[in-house]
């Protein structure tokens, strides 16, 4: 069964305090792993896609990495505007659907000034 687990559920950081969010997954062949950002009352906003173990992607203070079992979202010197819920999702390679994604429950990040 395809499954995505994110940890921690919630994370409070001081501004400038770097940390990492974890996404572990079990999937019958990985086509892609996606990271999204979701602000309160809004829809998820795409951040990154990772396709194979060892791959890394960066955007401003965020860097996503991928291994065969998990992905990390590293946040370097975060700012208050980075506060949001970060969602991880996987797209199984073998599925009957069409680019269907399986989501984790997210990590709620709060960055304190």
């Amino acid at each position: 069964e395809d499954q995505v687990t994110q940890s921690p559920e919630a994370l409070r950081l001081q501004e400038g305090e770097s940390s990492s969010l974890n996404c572990s997954y079990t999937v019958s062949g990985l086509r892609g792993l996606f990271w999204y950002r979701q602000d309160p009352g809004k829809g998820p906003e795409f951040l990154f896609t990772l396709y194979s173990a060892g791959e890394e992607k960066e955007k401003e203070r965020l860097k996503a990495t991928l291994t065969k079992k998990e992905s990390f979202l590293h946040i370097t010197a975060p700012k208050p505007e980075d506060s949001a819920t970060y969602l991880c999702a996987v797209e199984p390679r073998f599925q009957t659907g069409a680019n269907n994604l399986f989501f984790g429950t997210g990590t709620r990040l709060t960055v304190i000034p």
Binding site: F34, G43, P44, F46, L87, G97, A98, L101, F103, T105
Partner: protein, 116 residues
């Protein structure tokens, strides 16, 4: 481009009432999806469509129906609403080829539905 839009933004229903949620996208995407998001559960797929006139069931389809009469619109219907359908509903769309090479899904702003 407006991207993915959803109407209404909020709605309160009584048990047994019916309603339709509308999703529209102006990106000429082939695939469209309806999700529900509940606390502690993550986003779960209700129904999806791979093209005009086609629909398929996702992970949690019971109590919902969908239609895709036009490529740009995807409708989600609740025939007889139940309190268990209180949730936030998101629509998403994707180009079959992946518009930017990433195959990411573009999400709408959501509809917050409460069933009393």
């Amino acid at each position: 481009n407006a991207g993915v839009t959803q109407t209404p933004k909020f709605r309160v229903l009584k048990t047994g009432q019916s309603m339709t949620l509308l999703c529209a996208q102006d990106m000429n995407h082939e695939y469209m999806y309806w999700y529900r998001q509940d606390p502690g559960m993550g986003l779960r797929l209700i129904h999806y469509s791979v093209g005009e006139g086609t629909t398929a069931k996702g992970e949690v389809p019971d109590g919902y129906n969908v239609s895709r009469l036009k490529k740009q619109n995807f409708l989600l219907g609740l025939e007889s609403a139940a309190p268990s359908q209180t949730s936030v509903y998101f629509c998403a769309s994707i180009s079959r080829q992946g518009s930017s090479g990433y195959n990411e899904q573009f999400f709408g702003p959501g509809t917050r539905l409460t069933v009393l």
